[in-house]
Structures are given as C-alpha cells and as structure tokens.
Amino acid sequence: MKYTMKAGLTALAAGLLALSSAQAMVDGDTIVLGSAISLTGKYSSNGVDTQNGYDFAVKTINDAGGVTVDGKQYKLAVKYYDDESTPARTAQLLERVINQDGVKYILGPYSSATTIAAAPVTEKYQVPMIEAEGASRALFNKGYKYIFAVLSTSEQYLASAIGLAAEIAEKNGKNPSDLKVAMVFENDAFSLDVRAGVVEDMEKYGMKAVIDDKMPADLSDISATLTKVKALKPDVLVISGHNKGAVTAARQIAELQVDVPIIAMTHCEGAKIVEQFGKDAEGYLCPTQWAETLSYTDDTFGSAADFDKNFKAAYPDYQTVPYQTAQAAAAVLVWKDAFERANSFDTDKVRDAIAATDMMTFYGGIKFSEAGNNVAKPMVLRQVQDGQYNVVAPSKWASHPVEWPRSTD
C-alpha cells in the first residue's frame, strides 16, 4: 500500500513536471514571456507601474493582431512572479521561470539592484532578457551578451544639466570653465553612476566642483550641506538620491532659502515634488527617460501622446504616465519586433535579432550597443514651470525655453 502510494506520488510529480514544461516558451498560439517583478516591498509602486506597462503593451499588441512568426499569428502573455523588492529573490525566481516553467524570453525586473541580480541568471542559461528599468552602468561593463536595455543608462541622467549650464554660460558671454558646481549624491550604485556622468561632463567643460557630498542611504537631512551651498554660491546644484533625496532637497532648499540659478535633481516625478511643494518646486530641472510631449511615433502605439492618452484610458487611476511605464511597454515592443525579424523561436536566433534591433518607437529610437544599452535615445531635461513639466533640453526636443536663473516667484 505504502509502496503504491509512493509510486503514485512520483507519477503525479512527473506528470506535473511534464505539464509545466509543456507550457514552455510557446504554448499553442501564445508566446510566454517571464518576469520577476517588485509587486510588494519598497519598489512596489514603481514595480506596479512597470507591470502595467508590460500588460498594456501585451494587450495593445494582441489587439492589433499579435506577433507574426513564420506566417502564423501568436499572442503574447507574461508570467509574473513577485520578487518582493529583494535582488536575491529576483535571481531565485528567474531560475524557476527558466528551469521549471521553461520560459526562455525574459522581461526585466524593476530597479537596477534587481536587474543586476537577474543578469547573471539569464547569462548562465543563455536566455535573452529585454529590460526597461535597470540603468546602472554595472549592467553594461561586464560583457553580458543576453541583456538588452531600452532605457538610457544612469550616467546620462544629469549630464545634460551640465551641458545646459555650459550653453547658458556661453550665451551670456561667460566661459563654462568658470562655473562652480555643487554635487549632492546618495552613496549608492545608481546615484554614483549619475555622479560619474556629471563629473565626466564637468571635466569636458573644465568646471570646478565646490561641493561633492555623498548622502548615506538612510539620511533624511541635508541641511548642513545646503548651508555650505548657500555660503559658496555655486552656479549649478545637482542632486540625486532617489525619491527621498528629491523630497528632502525640495523641502530643505525652500526652508534654507538656497538660491542657485540652476538646480537639477532626479526623481522629481516619483517624489511628487510639484504636488507636495507647489510653488517651492518651481524651476527645478528634472531628467526623464521619456515625456508624452516628445514627437516620437511607431505603428503599434502611435505617437508618445497617443500612448499617454490610451494608457490613461485603460488605467484611469493615472493622472500622468510615468516613464517607467512607457519604457516597460517599449521593451515588449522590442520582443515583438525581434520575434518577427528572427522568424523563429530559437533563443539564439531571437537573441541575435534583438541585438540587431534598430527601430523607432513612441518611446524613442532603440538600437543596442555591443554592451546591450540603448544608444539611440537621449535623456531629456524638463523644468517645472507653473506646476507643469516642460521639456527644455536638449534643444532639438525642447517645447519651452529654459527659465534661467531659477526663481520661485
């Protein structure tokens, strides 16, 4: 009795295993993409934005006829797991997606930290991953062959503010090398990447750093640093420290009445600085991967403005569409394009097709370097003007002139 039960259980387990691997990468007329994403924990709000972007893109592509491979129409579907905002869990879940579920096409997680944990796994199994939310340079200097990122990397985030400052200085008959820059960056991988990009561009123009402070992750008080800023009167102040850095800076810059002609910071939208600080947020320069006012278009989503409109219609809770959502959707679009060009489900062929991607999307141009980062799309800089985010740089895409010097009146 005992023996037969054991045999039965074994058979059952084997059956379940067979069932799960039958689901594999292509299940009937459905192509299954896999993703471990932060639906709970500290990244959950951005994680959900990303998931909504994936889901919206899948639905839009399916409604438009899906993906055509070898003359046959396929639908897309995504198998999600919640990585609880923990990188170790991301890696674990991806092993599971690839080994147990048999999924061979991966959509990236949310955040650089989790993507850094995911990359070695996809590399090990030689499974391509198109990611939209990991911008750290650590992803693109390891020689990975199977990771492709649609977004601009983190060094590009605030470098454009330095370029803009130089442009303004030249226009006013000043030498960019006379400019003084104050830098406040969180002491973490992402923010230090942003800093590296800023430093690189400062060196290009010969600008001088008068402050170079690094905030620890759990510090929510930079008033001492800002007191220094007040005393040293730099021409540019650049700040990056995730949402907390932006909120802390916005609050304390107002409180200490720090008056710097150009203040640029990351995470303005995520930190909701306009909603939380109103007039005090005026004039801040905020980099963004994407804005709905940009004139990019493609055949699936239409223009950036169309994407914005249709996404809001599908998800009425959103008043503005975060760029995280837009780039997530763009990643799915790259999958569709790659499958169709590869005209096959063979992972190596699909991988090579992804590497050869050169397309225009509503999110911007997408063309991957050898390292896998997108080199066809610039970061844009928006300024808070009358409570609106207006694109002011680079000049090719600018919809409004930059207000300089910054004033809150």
Binding site: K42, P216, D218, L219, D221, I222, A231, V247, E255
Partner: protein
C-alpha cells in the same frame, strides 16, 4: 575639509545656522530617546521598534492632514491612538518577553518593527511623504540664517512634552509607581503596586511619545515606511551615551548629537553625518570604561 573649516571662520554666522538646526533636530531625537530610556530602564526591554513608532505617528499625522486637520492639532489624537496601540502590543507581545534574556526581547521588538514597516507599506505605499505645516520661514542676518517657524514650534513642543512627562513622573501616582518599579520590581509588588499595569502603561506611554515625535518628523523631514531605523539608532546612541534614568543626560546627549551631526555634515560632508554620531558613542564608551576602571582601582 580644511576649506570648509576656513569657510566657517570667514563667515562665523554659519555657525548660528548649524547650531540652530542641530538644536531643533536634537529636540526631536530627545523625545524618542526618552521613551526608549523609560522602557529600557523600567522593563529592561530594548525596544528596536522605536523608530517604527515614530514613522507610524508621522503617517497618522500625514493621513489626518489629508482630511484637512493640521498636523500640530493632531498630536493629542495621535498620542492617544499610539498609547492604545502600545498597550495592545504590550498585552499581546511584550508581556511575554519581560524577564527573559536579552535576545528574546530584541527579537520580539525587531519582529514588531518588521510588521509595522510592512503594515505601513501596505497601508500607505512606499512613497516618500511629508506633511506640510504651511508656516512661514524667517530669514535673519540678510538671509544668511533661516529659521522655519515649524522647527521653532516643534522645538517648543518637544520641551513642553518633555516637561509634562517629567512632571508626570515626579508628581502623579502612576509616575511614582513607574519609578518604584524601575528601582525594584519585586519590592514594588510587595508594596502593592500592580507592576503589570505599570509595565503596560510605560510601554504605551513610550509609543505615545514616539507618535508625537513622529508628527514633528513628518513636518520637518520626510517619512517612508522603512525610514524608522535611523531614528531607532539615534535613540539607542543617545540613551547609551547618557545612561538610563538620566533625563538631563538624555537631553544633553540629544542636543549634542543634533549639533554634532550638523557640524560633521558641514565640515566632513554628508557621508560622515551619521558616522560621527556612532563614532562619538564609541569615544564616550571608551572614556567611560577608562573612568570605571579607575573607579574600580580606587575601590580595591
């Protein structure tokens, strides 16, 4: 570093800004630290959830402010709610770990901290929030020094709250009972003091104090479900430096820590702001160890 010191000597007025900011934030550290000193001293429970209670109070204030209630006015409500919550936590968890060894109480309160973090994350999401006081910002010395009214007010409130707690401990029956229990719980029980009730009250009072501190934090800094830890660390640093049952010491250590953080942030950079706090603690402990060893030699 030398440049920054030079800057301080060139513009001495900056010292005023640093001292003021240090005192203002120090006052808030004092509140949470005093609550910790109470619980630690009376019940010998090292409450690792201290910072989480602060953040919880901050979130409640933020939540009420979305209904149009000014955070300052919400302090009594939040203190009352946190008091009730503290009492419940005592009855369900803390009660069972008093008198056990150190690790049991550390683990239990660490567990509470995790649960509070996740509960706040579920309830309010992981966004970084601040509650707006809407008060003016004064600028002195031609704008070189600025003082936000909210910082002044919260400084005043901290002093007031601390004074109330001290008076309560000195004058009221419950305060006396708490002090008696802290001195010798067994003797207090023999004298007819309901030590169970004293413990529950102490823990609840601590939660209420933290909640009130949290309201001020939400208006001066930022709150996020996972930002409790630095508040816990500061409270531990202050209490360890000041010693238990030493209220003037806690106040001095709190102000000292606030000012030290500001100065190290200015001179050494923001990356050393908190490192300095912990570094100072080490110095104090070493110094005290040396003192103690001298004392022991004298006794011998």
């Amino acid at each position: 570093m030398l440049d920054n010191l030079n800057l301080l000597s060139l513009a001495p007025i900056l010292n005023v800004q640093l001292l003021l900011d240090g005192m203002f934030v120090g006052a808030i550290f004092v509140l949470a630290a005093y609550g910790l000193a109470l619980v630690w001293g009376v019940m010998n429970v090292k409450n690792l959830a201290q910072g989480e209670y602060v953040i919880m109070g901050g979130y409640f204030a933020w939540h009420l402010s979305t209904y149009g209630l000014h955070p300052i006015l919400s302090i009594p409500i939040i203190a009352a709610v946190m008091f009730g919550m503290g009492w419940i936590v005592y009855l369900t968890i803390i009660k069972w770990v008093i008198g056990r060894d150190l690790f049991t109480s550390l683990l239990a309160t660490f567990g509470i901290a995790l649960v509070v973090q996740q509960a706040l994350n579920l309830a309010y999401g992981p966004d970084v929030r601040t509650a707006e006081s809407g008060f003016e910002i004064r600028s002195l010395f031609g704008g070189l020094v600025t003082v936000a009214d909210i910082k002044l007010i919260s400084f005043g409130l901290c002093i007031l709250l601390a004074a109330c707690v001290v008076l309560f401990m000195k004058r009221s029956r419950m305060g006396q009972a708490i002090r008696a229990t802290a001195q010798d719980a067994r003797a207090a029980r023999v004298m007819g003091i309901d030590t169970e009730r004293v413990y529950a009250f102490t823990y609840a009072l601590n939660a209420a104090i933290c909640g009130a501190a949290g309201v001020l934090v939400s208006m001066i800094w930022v709150i996020q479900p996972f930002y409790g830890v630095p508040h816990s660390i500061r409270a531990f640093v202050i209490v360890t430096a000041a010693g238990l049952g030493n209220l003037p010491g806690v106040i001095m250590a709190g102000f000292g820590l606030g000012v030290a953080e500001q100065y190290s942030g200015f001179v050494l950079g923001a990356e050393f702001q908190q490192a300095t706090a912990v570094g100072l603690l080490v110095v104090i402990l070493v110094w005290r160890q040396i003192q103690m060893s001298r004392y022991r030699q004298v006794v011998e």
